[in-house]
């Protein structure tokens, strides 16, 4: 486990996951809405699994409801890591 995980790293990992879920890589920006990327609730559950596994950060169903953009999800993880 690396000592410090940078925001860039979190962003990169998240983008990678979103692309795997079928999102268009070019459209992944911090202010991009999940809905616009065709990322739905099932995808977010998968994202939560990745985030828990790789960062030890828990994302509950309630949390996921509040995360509507890529940036907000990155913020969420970054905050809980510090």
């Amino acid at each position: 486990m690396p000592d410090t995980i940078t925001r860039d790293q979190i962003e990169a990992r998240m983008s990678e996951a979103l692309v795997e879920f079928g999102a268009d890589a070019e459209q992944i920006q911090p202010d991009a809405k999940f809905e616009a990327l065709d990322v739905d609730s099932l995808d977010l559950v998968e994202l939560a699994q990745i985030v828990e596994e790789e960062y030890g950060v828990q994302m509950t169903g309630e949390d996921m409801k509040t995360l509507t953009t890529v940036g907000s999800a990155v913020d969420f993880v970054e905050k809980r890591l510090s």
Partner: protein, 400 residues
């Protein structure tokens, strides 16, 4: 007066390739899609037909169903503005086991990495209704929608369900079919342990040397519609499903009734439903799995059901070319049946050479047989599907 149910579109993905025309072209030519003892859809690339997201949200059996049904719906003119209201269009897709590939993969994840790593997509992918649900979702079909489970008869049962729905008036159209992708480690090992699989890897239905079936994967789909309405809207009528009969053997979990009693009743029921005498049938598309038990029992059933006429009717098995597609077989075979009738040919039972004492029907060896109409009547066939557990389903089809 019963509504007549027409077929306005067909689609298939099989070991012979992608597409219904490919299926019939190659079967008529006596080709085989079996390689190394398996009937894989090796030329099928899901992302050629589905977006990455769609492909990811589907077990292989659902991917195959989506592709086959897309072809059928396109053929029937359902792209763009639908000719039949969404709420009046049903979707019934049969399967033997559904997402077994997903089950096996996720079980390994559970065992090796723990429950926390099991995919949230596991259940939606493995559930046996995933094919019908996904086909309905993708094509906005909002009528009755469910999966049908009856082993090797599932595809035929699904079509029967669609026929009855339209005849009763519960739907004006139905996408009906079957899909299977069970060439997996567990399924292959398990079928192998039953001595049901061919040890030689050869599918040779009705041949004296047959030693079991060859596993296949694939999907078949038909768009069924009320015939009158279909004609009114100018749809191309590929054929009509005139009869459907289904019974149970109540005999054994895997072996058919040795004298085909359940099968005979299903054939009789289908003919009666169609209002036809046995002598009106021009061709039998047999279940013909290449197992010692089925082929003997089925041959006897055909002889009994058709009586004196039995020796005159060509009897072919598509499984000689593509292997046994399990839950998809009944649907793929229905697709092949209507297309063969339209071409006026009974395709061959590929590889049939050696006669077995007691199996005395005309199994159409080597090359296809031209079917001749009598007095301009449409060509008529029955398609048999008999599943493990004693599930019998027979469809009666005709085409001009």
């Amino acid at each position: 007066m019963k509504r007549r149910v027409a077929i306005t579109g067909v689609g298939a993905v099989t070991p012979l390739g992608v597409g219904a025309e490919t299926l019939i072209d190659r079967w008529m030519a006596g080709e085989s899609g079996i390689e190394d003892g398996e009937g894989r859809c090796s030329s099928y690339e899901p992302t050629d037909f589905l977006s990455r997201k769609e492909a990811r949200r589907a077990d292989r059996f659902t991917q195959l169903a989506l592709t086959a049904s897309a072809e059928a719906l396109t053929h029937a003119g359902f792209n763009g503005e639908k000719p039949v209201a969404a709420e009046r269009t049903a979707c019934v897709i049969g399967t033997g086991i559904g997402g077994i590939g997903t089950i096996e993969r996720e079980h390994l994840v559970l065992e090796h990495e723990g429950a926390g790593k099991v995919s949230p997509l596991a259940i939606p992918l493995l559930m046996a209704n995933a094919a019908s649900g996904s086909v309905a979702m993708k094509n906005d079909l909002r009528g009755q929608c469910y999966g049908v489970v009856s082993a090797c008869a599932a595809g035929a049962h699904a079509i029967g369900a669609g026929v009855r729905m339209i005849q009763y008036g519960d739907a004006d159209a139905c996408v009906a079919g079957g899909a299977e992708a069970a060439i997996t480690e567990l399924a292959t090992a398990a079928f192998g342990r039953m001595a049901a699989l061919s040890q030689t890897g050869v599918s040779r239905p009705f041949d004296a040397r047959r030693d079991g079936f060859v596993m296949g994967e694939g999907a078949g789909a038909l768009v069924l519609e009320d015939e009158e309405a279909a004609r009114e809207r100018g749809a191309e009528i590929l054929g009509v499903i005139t009869g459907y009969g289904a019974t149970a053997d109540a005999h054994h979990l895997t072996a058919p009734d040795p004298h085909g009693a359940g099968a005979i009743r299903a054939i009789d029921a289908a003919l009666q439903d169609a209002g036809l005498e046995p002598a009106a049938i021009d061709w039998v598309n047999a279940h013909g799995t290449s197992t010692p038990l089925n082929d003997r029992a089925e041959s006897e059933a055909i002889e009994t059901a058709f009586g004196a006429h039995a020796s005159d009717i060509p009897v072919s098995s598509l499984k000689s070319s593509i292997g046994h597609l399990l839950g998809a077989a009944g649907a793929v075979e229905a697709v092949a049946t209507v297309l063969a009738l339209r071409r006026g040919v009974a395709p061959p039972t590929v590889g049939w050479e050696e006669h077995e004492e007691g199996l005395d029907l005309d199994y159409v060896p080597d090359i296809g047989r031209t079917l001749t109409t009598r007095n301009g009547a449409p060509l008529r066939a029955i398609s048999n599907s008999f599943g493990f557990g004693g599930h019998n389903a027979v469809l009666c089809l005709e085409a001009t």
